[in-house]
Symmetry: C2
Subunit: 497 residues, 2 copies
């Protein structure tokens, strides 16, 4: 068996500027076009996976033309070109991967990504705005992102367009020389020749570090237009035709477990009197109200996830917190079964969409933890999917944390007896009857299963950057006061840093 | 029959600061809560209409508390509080109504709007940043917006919270006097007392001008907490229970028809030779390429709508234009049957979402004109809906135009013979066979119906701010060159202004 060519060999080959004879190009084109359309439609009908084509490489080597060609040879109505430039103010205010998450194509569709996560990283590094430690961190971020997408069934293909320094320079000069083409040349295109060696080196390092079976790189020799087009199309065709759904493992979870343990069954406490409750609520709501109106908080953001058995009092607890906030600064997102659109995207997509802007808060009434709770217990997904979710979730929360978003997670711990009492109470009260459904009774029967799932959840996702608060919730008053105290305490600590 | 109370009477009544005795409040509360939940669930199950509750009025009179109360008495998982503050940079870059369109709740759901279109208008006027002509224009904008939503089945309810000057002042002082409540008081709350008469006057004028059967105003006396809560809940209950789906007419179309007429059947022209075509394309693409890279264009935006019979060459024409653009600066949006999410919103919602940021272009491959073409011909909607769409569409395009977005609309006019030729050609070419479906043949049989619909469309939507280009499209080369010329000409003229 012949050894696979090394990356350096592939770069060298591309820099030899190979040419495809015109006649051969025509023949291959004709065959390719027919097969591409067929493969695209097979994929659409199957509807299982989306294909993400990352287009990168040297500037000024015809990446745009290659993509126009693809749009010509495939049915462009099912391809979305997703192009990123410098982040807009809105994008810059979110964690770096937010805009990429938001733009993911739905299942069955193809997305062509221009100005991808590689561009922003390499450009920042090349302009010396970033040290190598930060570069390494950026690479790890990319590895985790791609691994997660692949595990969720997104097929990833990464193309690096390449040619020799001389060929790139000559191409740029040729375009500049004609007023009908000079507008195509950007400032970056002009700088490639001068910085060729550095770009080649950084590019090679990034490719080497992110080469993976689930997101393979391909080097496209780009000096000859027909060869570039045919090569690109061949690789895309192979990707579209690839049938087997390999399952890839998510990357190892690198988050630090929290030192204070969190136990599921919080010790229930003495009920709080109505008078003490009112007094405490006024005090803590006021303190929270002042905190979220500070300049320090305006630079941060707050994400709160509420979980707990049915009737644990999540909604009521959330409302006692939002009373202290300005209606324009928060959003309550109730999480139930995903919509069709949400189902057609990787799992965390629907939560990424709701991450708050600086100075704002998002309350999740149930959250991404549904993956390892209801979806696990009700066997809605294979065990591999919820097993890998712990790491994905930790990674999601870490990204929020690193961006300055404060993550607060609350498990409202209600006893089985108290739940029963509340179910009966709800059934008796005409204004609350809507809150109780046959599902609630069914879930109640599976109490031990939910308990096991919640206990695993606490074990695997109780991290330094996003620890759980387990709240004794049999006494609603006590739970609400403790919740407010916890939020105030967490914010005060975070805003001091 | 007793005369309806005048607005002035209602204001006076609210300023008399009426009180609801505690015992009576309790009784009414109990009944209201039960009926509210019932009404909300009936509405949800029916799934027909969304309810939009606009919350406005004096500042510092407890609007927030009233809404918290509603959230307590209804199932809050089906209510979304939509709160607007000062526009974010992203919002400010779009036409003013964009952010309101984007936030509309889906059918069956309830949205509570804080800081609505009234707030931004009144605040701007009160701060003297706006003359009365502009105020009038703003009011008309609101009238058109609400009429359109109502016609699409959105139920609108507008609440003005009110009390006397003295009561507002006393309430503010009371809150300020206690450190546990002082954080609730905003700068605006403190200014109400001083500017009371002016605010009352502007508010009354705005209410008078926008009072409408499809979007009625209610004045809520707010000095007494229980009365405020019960009044708000009663009005919301009545709205939720209102069953009959009244059809409201859209407002009169105020756009100016274009003076140059547009005829559907463009005279077909001599085919262009391959050589002349290539030369012309290079020239016009270059000119367009330079134009969109000017500073003047970076302040504007471009929306292009492409319509035409099947096989008229829309996709190919669009690609010839995008070749001149930077992939990061445009989006091609293919319009087909709406998704479930899109169907659950007013018709233009899906198009508002895709309006471009400054310096960007959106290409619609088929567009909002589907309403008066395919949806009319295939009888997918009642005649009243497409009849009123002409005005709605003109209004949509006018708003884009007034915001500086250049609107270009193209009808690719292909003859019936040429269409047949292309259908056969597509069937013969394996790489193009996917483009032809049984639908295409069926639509072809309805050619006269589509022709009639297209002709009406040209007649009613060919406006000064967004005129149609009817493009002779039997010769693709000629059509593409003329299209580029038209776009360049339109841009050059618009950017000079």
């Amino acid at each position: 068996m012949a050894a696979l060519p090394s990356l350096s060999d592939l770069f060298d080959y591309a820099e030899s500027n190979p040419v495809l004879p015109k006649q051969e190009a025509k023949l291959r084109e004709a065959v390719l076009r027919q097969n591409l359309i067929q493969a695209q439609y097979d994929r659409l009908n199957e509807g299982s996976r989306s294909l993400l084509i990352v287009v990168t490489g040297l500037d000024g080597v015809g990446k745009g033309s290659a993509i126009n060609q693809l749009n010509e040879w495939l049915d462009p109505r099912h391809i979305r070109t997703i192009a990123f430039g410098a982040p807009t103010p809105e994008q810059a205010a979110r964690p770096p991967m937010w805009r990429y998450w938001n733009a993911l194509p739905a299942k069955g569709k193809t997305g062509i990504v221009f100005g991808s996560w590689y561009e922003s990283l390499l450009r920042k590094y090349a302009s010396s705005k970033m040290g190598s430690a930060e570069l390494l961190h950026g690479v790890q971020e990319i590895q985790a992102f791609e691994a997660q997408l692949a595990a969720e069934g997104v097929q990833i293909l990464k193309l690096w367009f390449h040619m020799s320094r001389e060929a790139q320079g000559a191409r740029t000069q040729r375009l500049l020389g004609d007023k009908n083409t000079s507008w195509q040349v950007t400032e970056t295109d002009k700088q490639v020749e001068e910085h060729f060696d550095a770009i080649r080196e950084i590019g090679a390092a990034a490719i080497e570090a992110t080469q993976a079976p689930h997101a393979p790189w391909h080097i496209i020799p780009s000096a000859d237009d027909p060869l570039r087009a045919v090569e690109t199309a061949s690789i895309v065709l192979k990707a579209l035709q690839a049938r087997q759904r390999k399952r890839f493992a998510a990357p190892a979870d690198s988050s630090t477990p929290c030192k204070r343990p969190a136990r599921l069954d919080a010790e229930q406490v003495e009920p709080l009197s109505r008078k003490d409750y009112k007094k405490a609520m006024t005090k803590w709501q006021a303190r929270l109200g002042r905190l979220v109106r500070t300049d320090a908080f305006r630079k941060r953001g707050l994400v709160l996830a509420f979980e707990g058995m049915d009737a644990a009092g999540k909604g009521g607890a959330i409302r006692r917190v939002t009373q202290a906030l300005d209606a324009r600064s928060y959003e309550v997102v109730p999480i139930s079964a995903p919509t069709d659109e949400e189902r057609a995207h990787p799992y965390l997509w629907r939560f990424w969409r709701h991450t708050p802007l600086p100075g704002n808060a998002t309350f999740f009434d149930r959250s991404w933890y549904g993956r390892v709770l209801v979806e696990r217990v009700e066997k809605l997904i294979p065990a591999a999917a919820w097993n890998r979710a712990y790491g994905e979730i930790n990674d999601f929360e870490r990204q929020l944390h690193e961006h300055g978003v404060i993550v607060i997670k609350v498990w409202l711990s209600v006893s089985r007896d108290e739940q029963l009492r509340r179910f009966h109470q709800r059934e008796r009260d005409p204004a609350k009857r809507y809150k109780i459904t046959p599902d609630d009774w069914r879930n109640r029967k599976r109490w031990p299963l939910y308990e096991k799932a919640a206990s695993d959840m606490l074990r695997f996702t109780h991290t330094e950057h996003a620890p759980w608060l387990v709240l004794a919730a049999d006494d609603k008053r006590h739970a609400r006061v403790e919740l407010l105290q916890h939020i105030v305490g967490t914010l005060e600590k975070a805003l001091k840093d």
